[in-house]
Every structure is written in C-alpha cells, then in structure tokens.
Amino acid sequence: MNGTKSSAVHGPQATSGLRILTLRVNGSVYRCAAAPQALLLDILREEFRLVGTKRGCDMGTCGCCNVLIDGKAVPSCLVLAFDCEDKEIQTVEGLSLEEDGHLHPLQEAWAHSGGSQCGFCTPGFLMTSKELLACNPNPSREEIERALSGNVCRCTGYQKIVDAVSLAAKNMREWKEGGKQ
C-alpha cells in the first residue's frame, strides 16, 4: 500500500505544494493558491467565501453542495477544483445575479410554496432544479421527482419542493411568453 494517512481527514487544508487556481464562478474570475487535492466545495466556501453552497454528506449522496458546472448539476464535494479551470461554474449566489439582484423565479417559488424549512438543503435543490428547467421547461411532477432524486431533504417531505419547482416552471414559461426580462 502507498497510503498517505498522515494528512488529517478533517481540519485545515494541507498547504504543501500550493498552486495558483483560477476559476470562473458566477461570471467572475476568482484566483487563489490551492493544494492539488483541493475540492471545489472547499475552495468555494473557504477561499471565495461563497458559503451558500453547503457541506452535507461529503460523499455525493445528499446534493447539498450541488453547483452547476457548464450547466450540469454536480456535487461539488466530489469535484477536484483543478479539474474545473476551463469550466463555467454557477453557485446559488449566482441565481440572483441573473435577475439583477432580485430573487430568481425558483427562489421566489420556493418562498411562496414553503419549499424550505431549515433551508440547509435548499441551495442544492435550487441548482438541480435550475438544470432541470433549462432542459425541460414544463416537467411533470414525476419528472421533477426523478430529477431531484439525488437531493435529500430531512424537513419538508419533498411535496412542497415539487410544488415549488412546478410553480417556478409555470411562472418562467409565462414570463417568457409575456416578455419579462
């Protein structure tokens, strides 16, 4: 075995062998020094202070840390930061930037439908839902449930979340047809 057990499982990121990391996040260029093994989640939260992205299971099975990479929702806890240097990343903070500082239709629908209780899982659900609505502007409830099946919520029982995505889809279609920018 060629193990490297000396580095801590938790605690501060190791600082040996740092390299300059350049990422494009929410339309802006961010730079920092990072270890080769740095995860995108850690860089977003600890270096760029984009703490809307939450750390959940750390194994890709809860969806709390989902961000969009080139439009696809992925768990940032399983993505090496240096693999993303030529990619376009969007975090939950980027949603309102798209709407000139106002809430994104998904966020409005979440608030209206009671899609959040403790709110910890919400950023991940929002990003997965954004990918879904970009691919399918008029999803059925079953399609929404299937698309969100990699996200875990311990509070809502999911029905309010599905309601929120349905409402957001309806509003976005209507606004698009009505010419809202």
């Binding site: 093994q37 929702a73 030529d86």
Partner: protein
C-alpha cells in the same frame, strides 16, 4: 472531509498520458487514474488505498464519443441516458445507465469509471475510524478477508451497472498503456479477486468500448435490486440479451452484477433452441439459481439477493421474448 495529499497531473492527450505513466513508473511512484471521481474520491476520503500521484483524465481529448459500436470511456453516464441512437439499439444498456446512482452523480460519472468501479464490502467501504475499530481487511491495510476468512482472495462485491450489459453484448475493451494498445474481450476482462479485479495493468487506461454490430440483433434489458430507488449500488443486477426465431431461442445471453467479486456472464445456460414460454422461463430461472452465489458483505441477506436474480431473469425473459 479532506482528501489526502497527492500530486495531480492533467495530461491533455493519450501520448502525454503514456509519457507521464512511464515517468511515474520509472521513479517508482504509485498512481491512480481519476475520471468522474465519484468512486475514487469517496474512497480517498475514507483513506482507502490512496496514492501519492493522481492522473486526472478530465482534459484528455477524444475519449467521450458515443455511438452504437464504440463508446469512449470518458463519456458521461448521463450522456448515455440521453443518447437516442443508443436507446433505440440497446434499450437495456440505456436503462442500466439510467439506474446508475442519481442524476447528479450520472452528470459526473463516466462509462469507464463505472466499468472499473472498485469492489464494495461492509468491511471496506467504511471510515478509517470504523475500520481501525473493527480491524482492517485484506483489501485495505489488513491481511485477511473478513467475509470469507482466508488470506488469498478478496470477496468484495462488484457493483457496476453497465458491465453486465457489455458482457451480454460481447464487447471488447480497448486498453492504452506505455507498452501500446490492446483489446480484451469484456468476458475475459474481469478476474475473480476484489483486489486485482481485472486484467488491466495499473499503467493502462480503458480508452474505448467496442460493441460488435451483430449485438444489435439482440433485444436487451436490465433489472436492478437496491435499497432505495436512487443513489444506491446494485446488490443484484441481471442483464439479458435475447434473439428468437420462429418461437425458439436463437441466442440468449445472461450476465449478473452485484453477486460476486466480478460481473458474471452465463451465456444461454444451455437453453439455446428451446421454445419461448413460461416453462422455459422457469427452467432458466432454476438453472441460474443453481449457479448464483452471494456473500454477506452488502445490504440485503444473501439468500434474498440470490432469489431476486431468479425473479429478474424470469421476468426479463418473458418481457424480451
């Protein structure tokens, strides 16, 4: 959870990749390849056999093509699910891809990564703290298997969804390494040992999967048993390819995942030429059950998983006939 420290390399083409592996081998460094990361990184977080050098394949060009006769190993599982040609020709393969993990993991996971998935076991896929408390196993840091007590072979369970389909389709795996390119039939690729796992050398990558055109004559299907309808690995999976002529079996291919340390191909179990119908379906079910082995190292009791292999094979046969 922090990853252990390692050096990360990003070759951009297969030639650079070969040079890099040659160089690392010459310097005596152990290394892993990483594609989507959904299997390797959780294992690294749990300190399961991490290496000090990691080669990311994310920037290697030309490995993501998809067609009914050739799949690039870096094609994302999600892209298989969305591929209309593939869905028309091999619905079973696309069905299996659609059942891999969850939508967000399929966005990251690659076809090659799924085929080379590390074997899984109660005693292996645990935190460093858990394993230290229980006592390490043969596959990581210990010297004896905790499932079947002996020191020779690891009995961890192979849990990829796509491999049984490629066994059914009689695919060939194209391996690239410093010593050149070679093709290995999928049916000869896997080796019964949860540690060694396959005939691929550590310095080779799986680059392409070739599917013979004759496989397009098969009707394909896949059934999967898992603890939840999303995210989970198969604890039993059955793939089938079937061609019939005048109400009789012309070709039957059956393969399993989630049962032993390798995905297993059973061919037609001696039922070639038999008439299609309930009696034959029950015969196939009985013949498969005589051969299937399961071990107590993943969720669900071994007997239940074994019996579900029988139910799935019967159901698939009647559906595809």
């Amino acid at each position: 959870m922090r990853l252990p420290e390692f050096q990360l390399h990003h070759p951009t083409n297969l030639e650079d990749l070969k040079d890099l592996t040659r160089k690392l081998q010459a310097s005596g460094d152990c290394f892993d390849f990483i594609a989507g990361g959904t299997d390797v990184l959780p294992n690294y977080k749990n300190r399961l056999n991490p290496k000090t050098q990691v080669i990311s394949l994310s920037k290697v060009q030309g490995l993501d093509r998809i067609s009914p006769t050739c799949l690039g190993a870096m094609a994302r599982v999600r892209d298989l699910v969305d591929h209309e040609d593939l869905a028309r020709v091999f619905p079973g393969l696309v069905e299996a891809a659609s059942l891999v993990a969850s939508p967000i993991l399929r966005n990251l996971a690659t076809v090659g990564g799924n085929l080379l998935l590390d074997t899984r076991c109660y005693y292996f896929n645990q935190s460093e703290f858990w394993r230290a408390s229980k006592g390490y196993c043969l596959k990581a840091d210990g010297d004896a298997c905790l499932v079947v007590p002996q020191k020779e072979i690891c009995y961890a369970t192979y849990s990829g969804d796509l491999a049984p389909l490629f066994l059914v389709l009689d695919a060939e795996f194209e391996l690239h390494g410093p010593k050149g390119i070679r093709k290995v039939p999928a049916r000869e690729f896997y080796q019964f040992d949860g540690i060694r796992r396959f005939v691929k050398n550590p310095d080779e990558i799986l680059a392409f999967i070739h599917i013979p055109e004759s496989a397009q004559n098969l009707r394909t299907g896949y059934r999967k048993l898992r603890a939840r309808d999303t995210i989970e690995y198969p604890v039993m999976g059955v793939a089938m390819g079937l061609m019939t002529k005048k109400g009789k079996i012309e070709q039957l291919e059956i393969a399993l995942t989630g049962s032993e340390a390798v995905p297993l191909w059973y061919g037609d179990l001696g039922f070639g030429g038999e008439p299609v119908g309930e009696d034959t379906a029950e015969g196939i079910q009985k013949a498969l059950l005589e051969r299937v082995k399961t071990y107590k190292n993943v969720p669900f009791p071994p007997g239940y998983r074994r019996s579900m292999a029988g139910e799935f094979v019967k159901e698939l046969f009647l559906k595809l006939a």
